[in-house]
Amino acid sequence: MTAVVEKPRKAARSKVALSEGKRQERRLGWLLCAPAAIVMVAVTAYPILYSFWLSLQRYDLKFPGDREFVWFDNYITVLGNGYWWSAFGVTMLITVISVVFELVLGMGLALIMHRTLIGRGLVRTSALIPYGIVTVVAAFSWRYAWTPGTGYLANLVTPDGAPLTERASALAIIIVAEIWKTTPFMALLLMAGLALVPEDLLKAASMDGASAWQRFVRVMLPVMKPAILVALLFRTLDALRVFDNIYVLTNGANDTRSVSIIAYDNLMKGLNLGIGSTMSVLIFLTVAIIAFIFVKLFGTAAPGAGDEGKR
């Protein structure tokens, strides 16, 4: 409430000539933000522009003498390549399936963490373990669990197969590993939204005879909408980056490469900077487009977008 009262006053103040204190405040503001802003821009904006520049060249570290400016030839090469589209499809598949499962499971976990009558601390502590654990560690756990002979899951579920060596089952395991690792993060973001649901409203609905499901759909979900959208946006863009799990579980064998894996392979195994940079730019554009669609479709529910205006 106070912020609402304060705002117009601030606006009015800024119209008159800046006082000495005001100017000092500005200078301090810039001074305090400058280091963070400089680091962030220097390590992201400059390399992505440099990446675009590299993507217009034939630049293979194995044949440095052949470096040449080729305009958009690299893009034609990548976009006409079956492996790229396979990786693109795999990335989308993993993203969509894992985010959908995470949303449902995360909502359940959020409700449990928020409303459980007993052992709340225990539940929250355990849920943080997948969030905090190093992805590579978790991936090794899943890999050994599904290794024939060694693993408890392999012996139990697929006694006479090697699930990590077949495309469909390997992808399923990658998705399970992703879901396990990030459902708690999703749940925590959703729990923040859950905390905004007024208890009175739930009680009133309950007295009016609304069932638990009706209370969830009619009362909780509308209030939680911004939180859900933020969680979806964050997790979708995060899932698109999937790398660690695939690297450890299959290393991209049997067409399980994601775009991150294929870009990495191109750089580290192929040493082809031109093609690698082209993929970098394409991945960047994909993410930018998806983020843009999200914001356009669902309004500016993203944090920061309307940070001050909303208050």
Binding site: S14, Q24, E25, G29, W30, L32, C33, P35, A36, A37, V39, M40, V43, T44, S51, L54, L109, T116, G119, R124, A127, L128, I129, I133, V134, T135, V136, V137, F140, S141, W142, G149, T150, Y152, N155, W180, L188, L189, M191, G193, L196, P226, A227, V230, A231, L240, R241, D244, Y247, A263, Y264, L267, M268, G276, S280, T286, V287, P303, G304, A305
Partner: protein, 272 residues
């Protein structure tokens, strides 16, 4: 008490879901070479050999030192820069504030793999490749949005009237920040430090692309290169033991600071 029983069962389900994969890697790390591939969830023969092995190999010890050093330095710098920026964002009125918030949001969503090729080349040319600063720089960059968001959320809850009072008593803005606000902000800063540390500790993509030797390789990367004591030895036990070692700090954070971590992750994300 059917209601409590219902919650108890749901709780148990969550706990099992969360810790079974962790217990499995712990179990593997204690198995002897002979029983390593028996597929039993609980080891039949227990041994500490795997831990002895990894602490005797330079490959792991160096990586552990690198991991700790790089994560701590990155955390320190990211939290200091983040605190400065978050203070300005939550307290001061200056043009360009929205832009900074927007930029950090963009970076939070930035596909890190897009930076791998260009950073690889830039670092190769500037001599940063395969050094600590070569990893610390991208870590700070991607930790900053997290730090700025979490800290701004914490800072918005601080009773800022105290700052005004201090200024009225003749303190400058800088002094008010140091003497009055900093102590109040300490818990939020500490929580942010934990979150940032977890982020740096976890990274694999940058670590595997921007390093090439033991000089700066971190544990997650070293794990993926483990081959066992000899070429023909199965590295499963050693990898599991190393995996358990780097999970210990995470478990400690979670056990001791569960409330803070939950508060930090939920406050930064959604503010209604």
């Amino acid at each position: 008490m059917p209601v409590k029983l219902k919650w108890g069962l749901l709780d148990a389900l969550v706990v099992v879901f969360a810790i079974v994969p962790v217990l499995w890697i712990v179990s593997l790390s204690f198995k002897t070479t002979a029983t390593l591939t028996d597929g039993n969830f609980i080891p039949r023969e227990w041994t500490l050999d795997n831990y002895r092995t990894i602490f005797q190999t330079d490959q792991f010890v160096r990586a552990l030192v690198n991991s700790i050093g790089i994560a701590l330095i990155s955390t320190l710098i990211a939290v200091v820069l983040g605190t400065m920026a978050a203070y300005a964002i939550s307290r001061l009125d200056f043009p360009g504030k929205g832009l900074l918030v927007g930029v950090s949001l963009l970076i939070a969503m930035f596909p890190q793999v897009s930076l791998v090729s260009p950073l690889f080349n830039i670092e190769r040319q500037t001599g940063l490749f395969d050094t600590w600063p070569g990893l610390i720089l991208p870590y700070i960059t991607f930790a900053l949005p997290l730090a700025i968001y979490t800290l701004s959320a914490f800072f918005k809850q601080i009773p800022w009237d105290l700052e005004k009072a201090a200024k009225m008593d003749g303190a400058t803005q800088g002094e008010a920040f140091r003497r009055v606000i900093a102590p109040l902000a300490a818990p939020g800063v500490f929580t942010t430090a934990i979150l940032v540390f977890i982020f740096c500790w976890n990274d694999f993509l940058f670590a595997i692309s921007l390093t090439s030797t033991e000089q700066s390789r971190t544990v997650p990367v070293a794990l993926s290169f483990f081959t066992g004591a000899s070429q023909f030895e199965d590295p499963t036990g050693a990898i599991s033991a190393a995996a358990v070692v780097i999970t210990i700090p995470i478990i400690l954070f979670v056990l001791f600071f569960q409330k803070r971590i939950v508060a930090g992750l939920t406050s930064g994300a959604v503010k209604g």
